[in-house]
Symmetry: C2
Subunit: 365 residues, 2 copies
């Protein structure tokens, strides 16, 4: 167990936004909520998965909906608590600890804010190793662990508890309720035993986020290249450097969908990059080359500071470096690709690992 | 307490469809389910409200969604049971009895089928004295009784438990979930104590339904006019006689909405009647006269047999008698009119009691 204070939260917020691949919600709101919770309740206890008893009852927490809505509709901080209490009441069990469902701007941090508020530990694990837009897109789903009973709570205090026949139905019904409730809600989801979290989760994800955030922060002093630091920590590849010339973004069926277009600079002069996103970046390609495809990670960094830019934060004229990072090996299985590969999102592209694309320069369709 | 056997169910089904004012779902499916339940589990115990202990825990049951969907998507009979069991588990209380939320084709009968299946009594009470399309349109709402905790269950076995800040939010969120789940679901709703049911419900509604159904059935033998029999039992008025010349019906946002048009026959020759409905008939008017307005009841009966016709059952050329019946006095209060008067449904018409409209012939807008 170690304690997380304010500096750790600042670093985690930045690293989470890198792994959040443009989505996962604005890290700023989650960070503010967590810093305020630490101010009020003291530092957060972070446990490694190995420190969690096998029979401990653990539950993930976070928000669901279009992050573009979340920006305008800041959560009250009490919804997640309401959701946890309601789940405990329904299951008649005390929750031992919480953990992030994903590594994304806001959903990496909300469990920390909740944990501080409830005096619970946080487990250093998630279910994606990145961010994804749908509830079944977790390694737990690949391993047959149920998303429900889950509870969603809106900022008004309305509670919805779901107990569904599978995780795809959980996503479908929860998404409908989220839209009905105004576009963004807090959830308590994937209740499970410690032993299942250990077996199925992606370990030490908060540590990786913190390492990335710290490396970017320290380049101000070390004068190292922040992008190189991130690539080293994530085994990633530089895909493109350029400036943003177009952003096409709309919020529909509870998601922020769109395309960002960048014109190449330096070595990339003359090339045009397109990034397609649905909350998260899903595909990066130029006119004639596919560069990186979901479930591998695509992040957009500020060319100068190395700080990650979310799809909402992307502005015309911004100078950026686009990087690709290999996803966790669990996503590269047939069920992993089926669950969140390009085909699931409607792209007629085969999944090819980023390290192969970078090596071979496969022609884009 | 008295027992309900197959003949009673047949009669109740017909009376419920009269009070269902065109909506409330096809009585045929509810009847079949109830008859089958009686076949399997024996007669149903019907209690008057006065026989229910003040502190008994009672819960309403029924279906939600467009009845046009229900016709194609017959419930498995287990959803309502699942919903009840889940509500008991959440609240940690045993349910003493169930009751219909409304007097409508299907929702009058589904609680009887469930009661037989679970060995529970049914209480002779409802929350509308008629049928209405939305969950907050009950006398319980007028009296400040919460709709939630409620559970909805689909035929696949997905469960959603709602705990909302008010009954309008219960309606809104449950409606969204219903559409997400395929357009029709079963619910367990308005959990309350016996004393509240006694204070707020509309008493002896199943008895009235049975009386209406029996009267219509017996006119085959007595050769009395079935329409007159219904008018006498409900203090109603004949509004129109004619044949159906147009039906405009669509299913949208979980409701069956539309307009039925009839041309007058006999005394009504030369007049054209329009009935507007949203699951239930809401307004009846001719070219120049308003005849009956929600929350008063508008029923369409077969001119020959007196049997009620639902909006789904309405066919071109059908010879009909349209009748108007005064609603329960609780609906004629300001909050009653606000909750389900013509303004709520978007009609720019003031509510005028049917007995005044019939007397004075107020000009239609």
């Amino acid at each position: 167990m170690r304690l997380l204070g304010k500096q750790e939260i600042e670093d985690i917020a930045i690293g989470a936004a890198v792994l959040g691949t443009g989505g996962g919600g604005d890290p700023y709101i989650g960070k503010l909520m967590t810093l305020q919770a630490i101010e009020e309740y003291g530092p957060i206890q972070l446990y490694s998965v190995d420190e969690i008893p096998d029979d401990a009852f653990v539950v993930s927490s976070g928000m669901m909906g279009a992050p573009t809505v979340m920006v305008e509709k800041v959560p009250s901080g009490h919804e997640a608590k309401l959701a946890f209490e309601s789940l405990e009441r329904f299951l008649g069990k005390k929750i031992f600890a919480t953990f992030p469902i994903e590594a994304g701007g806001i959903n990496s941090l909300l469990p920390l804010a909740l944990a501080a508020q409830l005096g619970l530990p946080v487990v250093d694990v998630d279910g994606m190793g990145r961010a994804f837009p749908e509830l079944q897109m977790v390694t737990f789903y690949l391993d047959g662990i149920a998303a429900t009973p889950m509870v969603i709570a809106d900022e008004k205090g309305n509670l919805t508890l779901l107990d569904t026949i599978d995780n795809l139905w959980a996503e479908k019904i929860a998404r409908g309720a989220t839209i009905q409730k105004g576009g963004s809600v807090m959830f308590a989801i994937y209740p499970m035993k410690g032993e299942n979290l250990k077996r199925s989760g992606i370990h030490n994800i908060l540590k990786l986020e913190e390492d990335i955030g710290r490396a970017i922060r320290l380049t101000k002093e070390t004068h190292l290249d922040p992008v190189k630091e991130v690539l080293q920590l994530t085994n990633g590849f530089e895909l493109f450097r350029g400036k943003v010339v177009d952003i096409n973004r709309k919020t529909e069926t509870g998601f922020a969908r769109g395309t960002a277009t960048m014109e190449g600079l330096g070595d990339y002069y003359g090339e045009t990059l397109q990034i397609r996103f649905q909350n998260e970046h899903l595909i990066a390609k130029t006119q004639d080359r596919l560069l990186c495809v979901t479930p591998d990670l695509i992040a957009v960094l500020d060319a100068e500071t190395g700080l990650p830019i979310t799809t909402e934060g992307l502005r015309y004229g911004a100078r950026t470096v686009v990087i690709g990072m290999p996803c966790h090996p669990k996503w590269r299985t047939p069920k992993g690709i089926e669950t969140c590969g390009p085909g699931y999102f409607g792209y007629e592209v085969d999944y090819i690992p980023v390290e192969e694309l970078v090596g071979k320069g496969v022609a884009s369709k």
